[in-house]
Symmetry: C2
Subunit: 168 residues, 2 copies
Amino acid sequence: MQIENKIQKTNEEEVKLEVESIDFFVRMMSILGLPRSVGEIYGVLYFAENPLSMDEISTRLKISMGSTSQGLKTLRSLKAIRTSYVQGDRKDHYIAETEFRRLFSNFIKEDILPHLDSAADRISSMEKHVIANPDMNQEFYTTRIEKLKRLTKAGRKLLPALAGLLKI
Amino acid sequence: MQIENKIQKTNEEEVKLEVESIDFFVRMMSILGLPRSVGEIYGVLYFAENPLSMDEISTRLKISMGSTSQGLKTLRSLKAIRTSYVQGDRKDHYIAETEFRRLFSNFIKEDILPHLDSAADRISSMEKHVIANPDMNQEFYTTRIEKLKRLTKAGRKLLPALAGLLKI
DNA sequence: TGCAATTTTCATTTTTTTTTGAAAACTTTG
DNA sequence: CAAAGTTTTCAAAAAAAAATGAAAATTGCA
């Protein structure tokens, strides 16, 4: 029973809690544009008292090993989970990282800041087109470009600060 | 030429700028999870010197009227554009709202905060399941639930503050 | 008010994203 | 070092999201 319980929650309230956790994180991750399976996996791990192996996760969620492997890869790259050694079992086991501050800071670093970098390049290219053509209403276009520059600058400053403020 | 220029940019540098603007906003909006057409429309309007009608937009972008109408609806609901009366033309005309602060604050209000509200409900339901079952490891589960509460609370405070800080 | 112009809606089609499942690659241990 | 266990990869299938286009609704003018 102790072991069986690891694979499939048997207690009714525990099952309900797990379902709600999955639902919660599926929605949360979908706000961040992450696929359903990623939210499901994190949802299971978040309320797991013990580290779970890939096939325990895939069994509980009834999703394929392929999906589970992909989802774990995504979560690992966001540092939202970490692996934990379990004695006497050669499978990898996973634990949810529950410090949301770190989680968000990784998401920003990994998924947002790269966009801001390429944005800066595109803005300076826009600038060249305006300068290259004196017939264009310079004031109008320069003002608009200036606003874009300020936007990306603000993003680069504020987003990391936001993660820092998240004392969770 | 003056009129023709409204429908189709003829100057080479202007065309290039418009293409880059579209590209820029398509990517930016996609970070926010908004469809391609929404980014395209905003991209055209952002560097338009005059208000544009729906069919001017749809012609320039070579997208259907249906898509254009949907996209304008989304942008209107985010207050990212506004309509402007053009004398002697019965079509509606649109102008980009370029105050990004307001734009983000609307996005947060409209697309993020509702999620946080329903999250709060789900968390209190989770709590009930833990309390209902004294056999569960109360300390473990209560700690995890507490973290979720703090997360949503922080979100509710920080997100609007973020928009406020964006002095653009 | 009635008609033409304009905009919206929505069923269908197209495109994009995600999942599956099986094969390939890697790992551990006997 | 081979065989079994485990994980990853990736082409194909399934599901989800977005765009189209035509019909319906709305609007403004004569």
